[in-house]
Each structure stands twice: as C-alpha cells, then as structure tokens.
C-alpha cells in the first residue's frame, strides 16, 4: 500500500496524524500534513486507511 497527501487539498485538519501518528507529519508552521513515507509499512495499513477515510478534505490517496 502507498499513501500520498495532496498538498493542494490539505488544509491542516490534522485528523490523519490523530489516526496514524507515525505515518503523517504535520508542518510546524501551518499544521499541513505530508506522509512520512510513500510506502505504508506492514501493520500500518488499517490506521492509514482510517486516516484517509477521516480526512475532511479527502486529500489522502491510497494506491
């Protein structure tokens, strides 16, 4: 599984980091998110899927 945050869509709601804290990094200045790595490590899939599902802006894609 791979994950990506669309920086144009992300508005810094932070739900992703709440659901999968090790997989998403929030910018110190504006709280916008980026994936720590594109590859989702084994065992993290469920949390990352929940993060994607919870994103109010639907900015997270899994592929």
């Amino acid at each position: 599984m791979k994950v990506r945050v669309d920086p144009q869509r992300c508005q810094g709601h932070t739900l992703c980091a709440m659901n999968a804290p090790t997989m998403f990094e929030l910018d110190e200045v504006d709280g916008h998110s980026s994936a720590v790595s594109e590859d989702v490590p084994a065992g993290q899939e469920e949390q990352v899927a929940e993060a994607a599902h919870s994103c109010p802006e639907q900015a997270i894609s899994l592929f």
């Binding site: 932070t14 739900l15 200045v29 504006d30 599902h53």
Partner: protein, 460 residues
Amino acid sequence: MSDEDAPAGEPADDERKQDRYYFDRHTPEYRHRFEEVTREMQETCPIAWSDSYGGHWVAAGNREVFELARSAEYLSNDNDLRGERRGYKGITIPTPERVGGVRGGFLEMDPPEQRYYRQALNPYLSPAAVVRWIPLVDEMVRACLDERIETGRIDFVDDLVNIVPAVLTLAMLGFPLKHWDIYCEPAHAVIYTPPGSPDAPRLAELHKAMGMDLASQFFEIKQHPRPGLVNALINLRIDGEPQPDIELLGTIGLLIGGGFDTTTALTAHALEWLSEHPDERERLSRERDTLLDAATEEFLRYYCPAPGDARTFTADCAIAGTRFKEGERVWLSWAMANRDPAVFADPNSIDLARKGNRHNSFGLGIHRCIGSNIARMVFKRMLTQVLDRMPDFRCDPAGAVHYDTIGVINGMRQLPAEFTPGPRRGAGLAETLEALQRTCDDQGLAEPVTAHRAAGKVGG
C-alpha cells in the same frame, strides 16, 4: 450562458430554483426541528433556494456542502462594506446590524489578502504552537475547579468553560490575562441576546467597555510591541504595506469571537451529554488514551458549535448539479452536512468511537477554522480534568440554559451541576492568573513557534 441576461422570474431562474425550502435558521423552531429539517432537506433538496432574508441558497447535503466549500474559485467570503469591490456581503445571512463598518477579519476576505493574514497567524496556532500552552491551560482549569471543588456545586459555563478559552485567547493575543472578564460576558452575550432584549442596553455598555479595552491594547502594542497574535497583525505587510487599523481590529474581533464562544459551546454540550450518559462517561474516562480523540471529533460533529457560513458566487457556475449566478449567496450548513446518513451511519446518535468521522465542524477548504488546534486542546484539557476531579458530576436539567436559537452558535448559557466535594489543590483563579501572566511574560510563550519552541513551565 444564454440565460445570464434573463431577468429574475424568467423560466431559467424558476428552473434553477425549482428545489425550494423556506429556511430560517434564526428561529427557535429551527433549533427544535433541526433533525427533521435536516432529513427533509437531505432527502428532497440537498441544495435548495430559500426566499428568506432576501433570497439565498442553502446547502444541507454532505456532498453538496463539500463540493461547494472547496470551489474557492467560484466563491467569495468578502464583506465589501464600503462598496469598493463587488458589493458582496460576507459570511452572515442576514447582514448583522451590529457590524458598524468593520468586516470580520480574514474570514470575510478572499485570497490573496486572506492568505497573507493566515500565514502571519499560523505559526501561533499550529499543532506545534498550541501544544506549548498545555501546562498553562491545565493550571487555568485547575484554578477554576479549585474555586468550586469544596462546595460540590459548579456552573460549568460560568465557572469553567467560559473562563479558560477566554483567558487563553487573551494570552495568545498578548493581552493581559486578568482582563478576561472585560471580554467574557459581551463576547458570549452578543451571540445569544436577541435585538430589543431588555438586557440590550446593559450589554451595549459592556460591549463598549470591551471595544475600548481592545482598542487601547491594540494601540499600546503598536507603540510598545509585545509578543502575540496582535503583534503579528501589526507587523503584517502585503506588498510592503501595513494593513489598515480597521482591518486589524476586525481580525482581533474575529479571533475573540472564534476563540471564546465556540469552545465554550462544545465543552458545555459534551459535559451535559456525559452527565446524561454516566456509563459512557465512565468508559471515556477509563479508555481516554484510545477514546478521547475520537470522542472529541464526535462531539464536534454532533454539536457543531458554529453551524455554518455564507458565501457569494463570483461567477455563473454549476456545482453539485445546481446552476448558480454571480452575486447569489449560499449558506453552507456544516451542522446539517454533519448529519448526512450518506456519510455518517446513524447520524443523530453520538458514538464516541465513531470511525471515518470527516465532519465539517471547522469548515472546509481555505477558510478552515484557524483555531481548530486550540479548540481541541482546550476541550480535552477541560474535559479530562473534570472527569478526574468531579467524576460523579450530575448536571441539573432544570437549570441548564441553551441558546434559544442556533443560527450563529449552538451554545449554552448555564449548566449547573453537583458533585462529591473534594480538596483544593492550589491557589484561586485571580492569584493563578497573576502567576500565569508572569509565566507568559518571562517565557515568551506568546511568540510564534518559529521563535520559541519550548512548552510553558508552570510553578516551581
């Protein structure tokens, strides 16, 4: 575009506006029938034309609100009070009488101007910035609870959830903490007091006192800079130019309005619900490490403190299956979108562990609530300390007072409760705020996170 020139009332408009619903969110009836109105609109007209307040669109469905809110290229938040641009009327329907020539800060601006304001304030409000304040918030909550803990009685609104968000907002602005009570009552009462109320003259006086303190703090910081959101606004330059005082004062008003009544509304409602559901309260307290985040989002979804915003269309466009014309206004109902069964199973029930809770309570798109990180943090710190120190609290339903209408904020005025008394742990509120003022000043906590990363250290 052939129907663009058609006068109002021509078939083109009738066709565009065939889904109609008379929507008046300012009536007590809307509050009482909220779930029913939401269901009716979502089932029959998720985007409807309403003839209320001069006529405007209402978006009630989740998908419709989502698509509209993120169509920034066709939507304006601008409140053009002096007719200098396109005459748009900002985010409130109807236009409030009290505006008095000040627009509502960057929430009533469009990019690029709006973006400059947010960029100036973000480093004070990001998750990394907000976490620095936790020790001070805990101390404020501790002092508020200590004021009541020995008596076994508290009014959660008056004695806790009005105070902490107010004090923290002032601290972040760079205003004196002890001035919270100059701001607190007028900031809340302006929302829940209807025009013509017998209490209106007294509130007008309180409002005047608040405005005077706000202006005097602002000009003092201008002359003698001290860290905080206000200083960031004063230093903001767009194309090399400082921004007009009137816009900066409007923005400070927005930060106070956004910082005070919303978190108060959320926390009061959550406490009331937990009192009515003691098993859930016990579960939340016990499982807080895994449940508190989800429960916070669920209270946000369900109670949606700020239930919506208006926008103005900047061009003829078709969004979510409806054709709109330039200059028309639309009410985006975050609160109704949060109850759409297409996205939220059993939407009118609270499920503390709800999954996939992509609620709209902080808005969507480029105007996402800039204080969302503070709101969550302050809510969680107030709630958990109440759960720890007053675990058996029972709210008195006869004494609870909700706002009569939920057109602006879904709030509460009173929430009295009883609990088993306990021992104090420290100083009272006034003394605590004096100590916290020194903490703020000595540690530079109101600086942006880019200048000051360390969390506040309290006591010792």
